[in-house]
Subunit: 281 residues, 2 copies
């Protein structure tokens, strides 16, 4: 039978604020005895009425995007992490980076590797039960937060799959992306792209999505000077095209970039994992 104990605010609004009428729904959840998990920028704990209600019904209010209070600037400890660090990056936001990251981690664990999914956003945190939402961190501490994640991740395993955020040329979220790149100090990137997407999502100015070749080059050049990361492979999201078109797109991406390409959801993550492990040697 269906017996939930937690209500999850399962969407993210741009700017991260609640539509006003959600508060009534959240209060209903609490009064029915459900814990609340919230990934928006606004905090459940800033609503005194909700806090009071939660106390009376003995449920927890979990603000997934609340950063640790003791964050600071990066220290360089990211370069001393004793693990292979792989960061997913993308041609846009909301393009399947988290999903690709989870599939690669799952496939690696199936093979018996000491593999860890390192969550950097509210949904990843809800899935894995730890992590920091780097986009909610004070900008000065972005790289510091990402550094802490790989340092903590290395206590759980020696193959870290860091969930990417935003995109390096995204007009709104690029700062988060670059802070995450430099703070997590990846050895390798997995470049994610959705087949058919040509305009940046959520960008009111309709910026074009850069080409895969341009993105491979830019990410490699924008890496830390002391950790010159390379793109290991291309993860395509082919959810919106037929299987035949998906196979053609995979072949085209491989031909365009000279790198292994695949859709880790549709066709399995094995080929991309092989590519990463080969490049990590």
């Amino acid at each position: 039978c269906f017996n939930p104990d937690t209500a999850l605010v399962g969407v993210v609004t741009q700017g991260g604020r609640f539509p006003a009428d959600w508060r009534a729904l959240l209060r209903t959840c609490v009064s029915k005895g459900l814990h609340l998990e919230n990934g928006l920028h606004v905090r459940l704990k800033d609503d005194p009425e909700l806090v009071d209600l939660a106390r009376r019904h003995n449920v927890e209010l979990r603000d997934l995007r609340e950063p640790p209070s003791d964050l600071s600037t990066a220290t360089g400890a990211n370069l001393d992490v004793d693990a292979t660090i792989v960061l997913t990056v993308g041609s846009d936001c909301a393009i399947g980076k988290m999903t690709a990251t989870c599939e690669l981690d799952l496939e690696a664990r199936r093979r018996g590797l000491e593999s860890v999914f390192v969550p950097t956003g509210q949904t990843g945190i809800a899935i894995a039960g730890w992590g920091i939402a780097v986009d909610a961190v004070v900008s000065d501490f972005l790289a510091g937060a990402a550094e802490r994640l790989v340092v903590e991740g290395a206590q759980l395993g020696n193959l870290l799959w860091v969930e990417g955020q935003g995109a390096i040329l995204h007009p709104i979220y690029s700062g988060v992306t670059l802070g995450l790149i430099h703070g997590s100090a990846p050895h390798l990137y997995v470049l994610c792209h959705e087949v058919g997407r040509t305009q940046v999502e959520g960008d009111p100015t309709h910026s074009p999505v850069p080409s895969l070749v341009e993105l491979v080059d830019l990410h490699e050049r924008m890496s830390l000077k002391l950790r010159p990361a390379k793109v290991a492979c291309i993860a395509l999201n082919t959810a919106f095209v037929s299987e035949e078109e998906a196979r053609a797109a995979v072949a085209a991406a491989a031909a365009e970039t000279g790198l292994p390409a695949d859709d880790p959801v549709r066709f399995g993550a094995g080929k991309l994992l092989d590519a990463v492990l080969e490049r990590a040697k």
Copy 2:
């Protein structure tokens, strides 16, 4: 006679926290009737004892890095700003970007132009009396904060000099830099460099400072697709070399990049302003 009315916390610590023994000094200032201006990440207003003392002595506590409470993600309004937007960028942090920005604005105003210095950090805010410390903003709202600054700046004039922050390949602060680039949507960059600096300041891993040619290329390629900004000129900080060495360094930077170069403090900002106005046509 010397009759101050304000005490300014005139340094920035890495991580932006107070050394413990400063609190006693700040309390003394307040009890002597001085307003306090603080540019650190910690807030004077979070110290209840100080708040109480300030109330009793009728002085103000000004937290320069406190961002506006209503920030959100960028909207694309930056591309509609009716002004020429010039952003200083640098080969490193603490290299003279703010000083170059102020000198260029001053020279432009001397020539009767409707020129505006747009502050993005606590010192610029202390100087100009407005602005947002973008490094203190929630990462998701970085570009949104920078966008707001150019929208507000355009109400004051039509030639905006946006104070740069960090550096595009700085291991700690690059996220702030890129969010500022994409949010302020400059038409032109002024690339700042300190003659003789070869290692990134404040970076415990001692990353090398990239070459000017590499930085010109990276900034131009990392610009918004819809606002492909170019580097107009090179602003050198020659404070630590002789005048002869300074002249040689200016000539070398111009030869290396093919762009006009000068030290706007030592030799005046006229040549660099000419270069910007020429490129802005």
